[in-house]
C-alpha cells in the first residue's frame, strides 16, 4: 500500500509540475505587458520598468520559471497586481467559500445519487429507473449555470423559498473566522441563526453544481449493483434465506461501490471548475469572482496561483479516491501489498 501511495504521489507531483510549467509558459508567451496593464496608461515608463523588475518579467523565461518554482515551494505565489496583496492571502480569503460550495455539492451528489441508483436498480426498467436515466442525461447535457438559473427562477423567485444570492442574508454578521467555511464557523460560534441562513444560501448553488454528477452517479451505482447482483455469492446468500435488504447492504453494496466511486471522484473534482460558473449566477464571493477580476487586470500571479490550486485539488481528490478504491477492494489491497 505504501509503495503504491508513494508512486501515485510522485506521479501527481509530476503532473502538478507539468501544469505549472504549462500555465507559466502560456502566461508569458501571450502578448500584452502585465506591468503596463497593472499600472494603467498614466504610469511613467520608469514605474512600469520597476514593476517589471519586481515581477521578474525582465529576466529570460527559464530564469523566471526557476524563480517562480523556488517561491512556490516556499508557499509564496507572488504578489497580485489587482488586489495589491500576496496571492496566497487572496486565496485564503476566497478559496473557503468555493470549497464549502463544492463539498456540499459533493455531499448532495452522494447522498441523493447513490440512493437513487439503488432504487433504480431495485425497480429495474420501471419508472424510477427511467427517472434516473433521464436525470443522468439531462445532467450531462445541461451546463451548471443553466441549472442554476432554472433553480433560482423556481425556488427563489416563483416559490420564494430560498435566497437569491450571496452566502449570508444582509443584517446577519458572519461568525468569527476560523476555517472560512461559514457553516463550520457558525457551529463553532454556536450561532444557529447564521448556520441555518448559511445552509439556505448554500442549497441552490450546491444543488445546481451537483446535478451534472448526480444523475451519472445514480446510473453508475445502478449498473454496478445489477452486475454485482448477478454474481454467484449473491445467489448463495439468497439460498441461505437472507433478506434482500441484508444482502444488498452487507454483500452487494461494497463491491458495487468501487467503480462508482472512481467516476464520482472525477465528477467531484471537476465540480471545482464548474463552481466558477455557478458562483457567477449566485454572486458567490469565491474564486470565480477573483479569477474573472484577475483576468481583466492581466494579473498573472493570481491566474497562475488559482489554476495551480485548482489543479492541486483535482489531483489530490483523484489520489484520495484511488486510495479508497483500493481499501474497498480486498483483491487490489493484496495486490498492492505484494507489489504486483
Amino acid at each position: 500500500m505504501g509503495r503504491a501511495l508513494f508512486r501515485r504521489l510522485v506521479w501527481s507531483l509530476g503532473v502538478l509540475f507539468g501544469v505549472s510549467l504549462l500555465i507559466f509558459v502560456l502566461a508569458r508567451v501571450i502578448p500584452g505587458d502585465p506591468a503596463r496593464i497593472a499600472l494603467g496608461p498614466m504610469a511613467t515608463e520608469e514605474q512600469v520598468e520597476a514593476l517589471r523588475r519586481a515581477l521578474y518579467l525582465d529576466r529570460p523565461l527559464p530564469l523566471q520559471y526557476v524563480e517562480f518554482l523556488r517561491r512556490v515551494v516556499r508557499g509564496d505565489l507572488g504578489f497580485s497586481t489587482y488586489t495589491k496583496r500576496p496571492v496566497v492571502e487572496d486565496l485564503r480569503e476566497y478559496l473557503p467559500a468555493t470549497l464549502e460550495l463544492v463539498f456540499v455539492s459533493g455531499f448532495i451528489m452522494v447522498a441523493l445519487g447513490l440512493p437513487l441508483g439503488i432504487v433504480a436498480a431495485h425497480f429495474r426498467d420501471r419508472w424510477p429507473d427511467a427517472l434516473a436515466r433521464v436525470l443522468a442525461l439531462l445532467g450531462v447535457v445541461t451546463p451548471s449555470f443553466v441549472w442554476a438559473i432554472f433553480l433560482v427562477l423556481i425556488f427563489s423567485y416563483a416559490l420564494g423559498w430560498l435566497p437569491v444570492m450571496g452566502r449570508l442574508s444582509e443584517g446577519l454578521s458572519p461568525p468569527p473566522r476560523v476555517t472560512g467555511f461559514l457553516t463550520i464557523d457558525a457551529v463553532l460560534a454556536r450561532d444557529w441563526v447564521v448556520f441555518v441562513d448559511a445552509l439556505r444560501h448554500l442549497a441552490l448553488p450546491a444543488l445546481a453544481l451537483s446535478l451534472s454528477g448526480l444523475g451519472q452517479a445514480a446510473r453508475l451505482a445502478r449498473t454496478n449493483l445489477l452486475e454485482t447482483f448477478a454474481k454467484p455469492y449473491i445467489e448463495l446468500a439468497r439460498a441461505y434465506g437472507l433478506s434482500p435488504f441484508a444482502i444488498a447492504l452487507k454483500y452487494a453494496l461494497r463491491p458495487a461501490m468501487a467503480p462508482t466511486l472512481t467516476i464520482m471522484g472525477l465528477d467531484f473534482a471537476a465540480m471545482l471548475g464548474s463552481a466558477f460558473l455557478v458562483e457567477a449566477v449566485f454572486n458567490w464571493p469565491g474564486l470565480a469572482r477573483y479569477m474573472v477580476q484577475a483576468t481583466l487586470y492581466k494579473d498573472l500571479n493570481a491566474i497562475v496561483g488559482t489554476a495551480l490550486v485548482v489543479a492541486a485539488f483535482f489531483l489530490a481528490v483523484n489520489l484520495l479516491v484511488d486510495l479508497v478504491v483500493v481499501w474497498l477492494n480486498p483483491r487490489l489491497r493484496i495486490q498492492e501489498r505484494e507489489g504486483i
Binding site: I23, L26, G32, V141, F145, G273, A311
Partner: protein, 281 residues
Amino acid sequence: MRRESLRRFWYHFGRNPLSLLGLSIVTLVVVGALGAPWIAPYPEHAGRFVNFAEAGQPPSLHHLLGTDTFGRDLFSRILFGYRISLALGVVVLGIAVPLGVTLGLWAGYIGGGIATWIMRLSDVFVAIPPLVLAMAVLGVAEPSLTNAMMALTLMWWPWYTRMIYNQVRSLRLEGYVVAAQIIGASATHIMFREILPNTLPNILTKAALDMGFVILIGASLSFLGLGVQPPTPDLGTMVAEGARYLPDLWWLAVFPGLAILFVVLGFNLLADGLRDALGEG
C-alpha cells in the same frame, strides 16, 4: 461491400428512436444555423441593432421567444448564436482531432523519445478539467472567439492522442498489419491505410460526443465573459446578460440556456446512436 455495411449501419441506427431524435435535433440546429440569414424572422437583429420601442417584450406570436433589452428578437439571435457554437465546435475538433489522431498513431506505431514526451504531456492535460485550463489560458489572453478556439483546441487534442495510442498498441500485432509490413509497406501507409480505418468508429463517436461538449464548454467560457464578446450573439453571453434581468425578463436567460441544452442533447444522443450502430456493423 462498402454500400452493404452502410446499409447495415442505417438499419441499426434507424431502429433506435433516441438516435433518430438526436439526428433530427442536430439536423434542425445545423439547418437553422446555416440558414439563419434566411430563416430568422429578424436577421438584422443579430448585431448592433437597437429598437427601444420593442424592448423587453415577453414571448408572443410576433416575437416567438420575446425580445431583449435592446428590442432585438431573441429567436433570431439564438439562430445566429448557433452559428458561433457550431463554428467553435467544427474549428476546435477540425484541428484537435486530426492533430490528436496523427500524434496518437505516431506515438503508438513508431514511438521513440519525442513520442514518449508527447504522451507525458498528454498526461498533464488530461489530469486537469478542460474548463479550468481553458480559463487559465483565456485568463492571460484577450477574451475573443479566436482565442477561445485556440484554448479549447489546446485542451482537446490529448484525449484523441491517448485514445488512438491505446488502440494502436493493441492493433499493431494484428495479422493485416504484420502482412503489410512483410510486403514492405511504408510506416505511413500502415498507419493511415491499415490502422486508421479500424479506429474510425471510435473517432467518429467521440467526435460527435465532443461536438456537444466543446459547445457546452465554449458557452461556459463566454458565460464567464472569457469568450465571444457582445454584440456577437453567443448563447453563453446571452445567458449571462439575461441573468441580470431575472426574474422579470426571465426569457432572456431561459431560452438561450435551453438552446444550449438542446444542441448538446442532440449531439449526445447522436453519439450514442453512432456507437451502437457502428459497434454492430
